[in-house]
Amino acid sequence: MPELPIPIPPLPTLHESVFMAIALLTVVGAFLVVAARNLFHNALGLALTFFGVAGVYFVAEAEFVGVAQVLVYVGAISTLITFAIMLTRGMMYGATSPLNRQAGTAAIIAATVFVVMAGLLGSLPWPVAEEPIVDGQIVIANLGVGFVTEFVVAFLLLAVLLLVALAGAIVLAQDRK
């Protein structure tokens, strides 16, 4: 058999093809966010991206993070952003150009960051988990144990953070009587 100039890449496994589909979905969503001319469509694109990211978590066997992503980001943050757009006069209708004076500079910076990060991430020997995670239940239970033991400071601090957000929400958005 004659040698091919480049080796034929092996067919992607099911796992890999699912990842690719989800990654494509995420990138398309992200592109919509920056490229769509109607702000409302940007928000819908963002929801799509959130959903794609949740899918990536599932593929990476981080089920809890995936569920949290769907519940908080897809479910709540997207809604909040949609509301924010709907609150604003003039933003709902009409096309706003996604380009401004700084678009060129931004594109160059984004491209540079992408090239640097891709080069860096691609060149590293990543540690591979020796055995697949068998039971997601145990992982989540361990996470729960972590909340109340090892990470209890962070856990309680999070409650304070949420309290700050709650008080802040009232200051910012309560109707003046």
Binding site: L87, R89, V134, V148, T149, A169
Partner: protein, 123 residues
């Protein structure tokens, strides 16, 4: 394991395909005779009187923000429930109950606060 989600994947694919069929097939096969009334969005027989996309009062925003906060709180309750079993022996149960108790106390105090502030009133 990721394989456990294979049924979910099939489900998602089938639902997407079905959506395309349900919307796509009639537009190919169905007859098209347009008139003014048919072009209007279907609102249970009521004639639409304004655009569906309209400005919202800020109250919705406040409610949405508060919803996110309690949504996040619930996310943390879920793994904690899983932690009760491994921690059930000896003083471990207090280890599980006390931090969550403090966590919930802080957030319920916040809830009581916003309630008494009238942030939940709609009028």
């Amino acid at each position: 394991m990721a394989q456990d989600y294979f049924p979910l994947l099939v489900f998602i694919v089938v639902s997407i395909v079905f959506a395309f069929i349900a919307i796509g097939l009639p537009s190919i096969l169905g007859p098209r005779r347009k008139n003014q009334q048919k072009q209007e969005p279907y609102e249970s027989g009521i004639i639409p009187f304004q655009d569906a996309r309209r400005r919202f009062p800020i109250k919705y925003y406040l409610v949405a923000m508060l919803f996110i906060l309690f949504d996040i709180e619930v996310i943390f309750l879920y793994p904690w429930a899983g932690a009760l079993l491994p921690l059930r022996d000896g003083y471990g149960i207090w280890l599980a109950l006390v931090p969550m108790g403090v966590f919930l106390f802080i957030l319920i105090a916040g809830l009581v606060y916003e309630w008494s502030k009238g942030a939940l009133e709609w009028e």
